[in-house]
């Protein structure tokens, strides 16, 4: 009671000045009014007696997951998909509302599955509305980058949490440029998919089964110390995966030529590990789902038309708004008019506190939007303002090994107006184009107040 205290001030600077005048340093909060219209809901959620413990539980559940790669399987086997079943990225969507790259990827997948003889016949098939199902990956414990199409014949990584046995799934990464996930469906795209199912998948399956589980959570921890943020840069992770699997690939009885092709393919694709980072993030975030009172975001996903989030305390409800076009750099002669709005489940990495949230650890890609290294450090620190905690396993050396910002808090987004920053690739607007660039994007601002309102409504109902 008699020792001079440290003082944190929030509000009138004059009162902070009065403390400084007494030779006590006031740590000042740069307070700004909350997002308009949210003050009442913020107070209701802040007063929710469940919230603090629910968020602590959600964070603990998230941090308690160790994601291990335990198998590689055809989606038909892993996910029970049958001919005509298609999983896609983002919140639910119909063919009618689907964007160019989503349609292009569906067309390619229909041709790949042999449902149509030629991809160009697929639009008529999908317009008919019969003979197929469209469902979000997220509704099946799965995630897919960009269009995120998973069809029965595609192979998927199987990740498992050792302690609970919970599983998540993700397709195998095709590389950059003209690829299905960016909406391309030409014959070379389909040929690559066929090779991935007939050669790459089985080679990886034998290797994973022989090598034993690969600790993806641990590889992510190492990647973050090696310049990967695990969304737009996965180079170190990809090479570490090869390090862990190549001996088993060679010994596993696969043809030497197939092993060489697989190693060259994986090694030549800096993004191969993205499709392991994503389901690892999904597995951890799924553990934080369905905790009444928790304001933690457990999914951010885009289908090329809508951007949606799901929140722990509001179950499976999606809060959606129009997907935005990324701000970034374009390949070749492409420009902003060629880019489709934001697409893909890969924002699961940001939801888990890496990707754009870990920009500080990936200075090699800060110039993606003409940024600087200080911008990258500032971005990670800014994301810390909307996060509930830090991840003690995933640390960033240049920030004195601070943990990555963990658990986006809907309330803090509304309080600060700071939106999550997502590093993303850009697909061409026209079906069949492929990738046109890469950059940074944020969610539509209105979905966070909408989620907050739903949380506040549940709190009010419980209090009655």
């Amino acid at each position: 009671m008699t020792a001079a205290p440290t003082v944190v001030t929030v509000g009138t600077s004059l009162l902070a000045d009065a403390i400084d005048d007494q030779a006590v340093s006031a740590r000042r909060v740069d307070w700004q009014p909350p997002v308009p219209g949210t003050a009442d809901d913020l107070a209701t959620v802040a007063a929710d007696p469940l919230r603090a413990a629910a968020n602590a539980r959600a964070v603990d559940a998230y941090l308690g997951v160790t994601a291990q790669l335990v198998d590689v399987l055809p989606a038909s086997e892993a996910l029970g998909l049958r001919p005509g079943d298609f999983l896609h990225a983002g919140p639910p969507i119909t063919w009618e509302r689907a964007s160019g790259p989503m349609r292009g990827a569906l067309m390619g997948a229909a041709a790949f599955e042999g449902i149509v003889a030629d991809a160009e016949e697929a639009p008529a098939f999908f317009e008919s509305g019969a003979g197929y199902t469209l469902d979000p990956c997220h509704h099946h414990h799965a995630v897919g980058p960009m269009a995120g199409i998973i069809s029965p014949s595609m192979w998927v990584f199987v990740l498992e949490d050792a302690s609970t046995g919970a599983r998540t799934y993700c397709s195998l990464n095709e590389g950059l440029g003209k690829v299905l996930r960016y909406g391309a469906y030409s014959e070379d795209v389909l040929a690559r998919l066929r090779w991935m199912s007939s050669v790459l998948g089985p080679v990886l399956q034998r290797a994973v089964r022989a090598a034993g589980p690969v600790d993806i959570t641990a590889l992510l921890a190492q990647m973050l110390q090696m310049g990967d943020e695990a969304h737009n840069r996965n180079r170190a992770g990809t090479l570490m995966l090869l390090r862990d699997l190549v001996p088993a690939m060679i010994r596993s009885g696969s043809r030497a030529g197939d092993v060489a092709d697989a190693v060259a393919f994986v090694g030549g694709n800096d993004h191969f590990f993205l499709n392991l980072a994503m389901p690892a993030c999904k597995l951890a975030l799924d553990a934080a789902r369905d905790i009444e009172g928790s304001t933690m975001v457990v999914a951010m996903a885009r289908n090329g038309t809508d951007f949606g989030i799901q929140v722990s305390g509001t179950g499976d409800q999606w809060f959606t708004g129009p997907a935005q076009v990324a701000d970034g750099l374009y390949l070749g002669s492409y420009g902003p008019d060629d880019a489709n709005p934001d697409i893909g489940d890969s924002a699961i990495t940001e939801t888990a506190g890496i990707g754009g949230f870990a920009m500080a650890t990936a200075p090699a890609i800060v110039r993606l939007v003409g940024g600087s290294v200080p911008d990258a450090l500032a971005t990670t620190r800014r994301m810390g303002e909307i996060a509930l905690a830090e991840n003690p396993r995933w640390t960033i050396p240049v920030l004195e090994f601070a943990g990555t910002p963990t658990g986006i808090d809907v309330a803090r987004v509304c309080r600060t107006g700071i939106l999550p920053q997502i590093n993303t690739g850009m697909a061409g607007r026209v079906a069949g184009t492929g990738q046109v660039g890469a950059g940074l994007v944020t969610p539509p601002a209105e979905i966070f107040p909408a989620a907050l309102a739903a949380l506040a409504e549940r709190a009010r109902r419980r209090a009655r």
Binding site: M1, T2, A3, A4, P5, T6, V7, V8, T9, V10, G11, T12, L15, A16, A18, D21, Q22, V24, A26, R27, R28, V29, D30, W31, Q32, P33, P34, A39, D40, L42, A43, A46, A47, A52, G175, L176, G177, L329, Y330, L331, G332, S333, A360, A364, I365, V366, R367, L368, S372, P374, L377, A378, R381, G384, E385, A411, R412, R415, T416, I418
Partner: protein, 508 residues
Amino acid sequence: MTDHVSLRSGAYADSVTLLQVSKQVAATPGVREAQVAMATPLNLETLAVMGFDVPADASPNDMVVALRLESASLDDAMAAVDAALAAASAPRASGDTSVAPPRTTASALRDAPAGTIVMVSVPGPSAFVEAMDAVEAGHDVMVFSDNVPLEQEVALKEAAAARDVLVMGPDCGTAVVGGVGLGFANVVRPGPIGIVAASGTGTQQVLALLDQVGVGVSAALGVGGRDLSAAVGGRSTRTALARLDADPQTTHVVLVSKPPAAEIADGITAYAASLSVPVELALLSPDTDLTGRTEALLASLDLPAAPWRRWGEPEEAGGPGALRGLFVGGTLCDEAMLIASATLGEIRSNIPLAGGDALDAAAVLAGDLGDAHAMIDFGDDALTVGRAHPMIDPSLRLAALARTAADPATAVVLLDVVLGHGAEPDPAAALAPAIADARAVAVAEHGRTLPVVVTLVGTAADPQDLERQAAALVSAGAYVFSSNAEATRHAVALTAVPAPVPTAGELR
């Protein structure tokens, strides 16, 4: 239109840098398209799609420069490539521009040492959210903000009680913790007296009187004006009393408040009696004022209560007419009404005594009070929505002073001036001329002297310089008291005295 493709063996930049370089070169006038990239198969394919002739001998370790020129010369375009590559590899200005201040209280409290205190003064509708951050992180919090809904105060204090955290406020103007004044706080010396107060300016009155006789304080813990209401139930008062009971520096405690709600009065009184430290109750009532309770406290310490200081000379002037009090301190206003009403009967106010009808903000600002006695608290919530407290922004009260002087019903004006950290740096600078003007107007328009009585609450070490403030007020014609109770009694006495005709000297 001419195409140009060349290879630079051994040159390397990462793909993101090269994307940026390509973008810059493409923006050069006369350049239609530009692609500078490492010659990987993918990039060569991209070039082929763009229609460039790709050299057959390119390897992934070469940098390929492909330009499609409209009007620019090849030399100019290549110069642009070189400039963009050089710029991309140039070091950036150093200095860490990446550290921004925290945006929420929760963020500011990450890694904060135990014992850190939070002071919240954001607008009322947002105060609860920031204060909850402090409570959940286990830190004591002072909520200076007013206009905080009652149910939020209750929720905040329930959460705090569960974590043994002290919530001072809402609408807590003053606290002293560890020798540091928070909000509006006077500079006091350390000492044995602990104060628990539901009233900011009440605390300041006690602090100032104690300082005058050389007695210091260990802490002054505000609890907010509604803490002793039935709804809030004295939660913060109990926590604050317990803190002081446990503090070895504190030998005596004073509890400053309006009388508690009847439902909780017994409980609080019993709780205070159960503590090992003696608790002096200073609960304002018609029979109890802060000066008297401070004197009783000093008596229990075997210390003499000095005759409280006054500055200036009394005037043999005043009524008959109305007493008009214009206050910045809510408790000082309350105390003055309790004292004055015993003699004068009903006092109109925006914070009336029990049973009175409140003047609304519009009536206060219009200033049409008939011939009634009136006392206005300019620090009340209704008069601070969207504006600073009158101890910071005196403009409303200064305007009211001018109106009051022009009102023929006004016989005596009673004012308060509160010094200390957080308050105006020189309140007399604006108030003294306004007092002089008011007195001149009374003479000019109504032909009589207008006595102005001032309570000056401050300590010798306050940054505004107590003596200088007193001198400025006296030279404007005010009679200045350090005790609000004494000032009020003097003003009441003047109200009943017939006004003499002013002398020539006073017409100046």
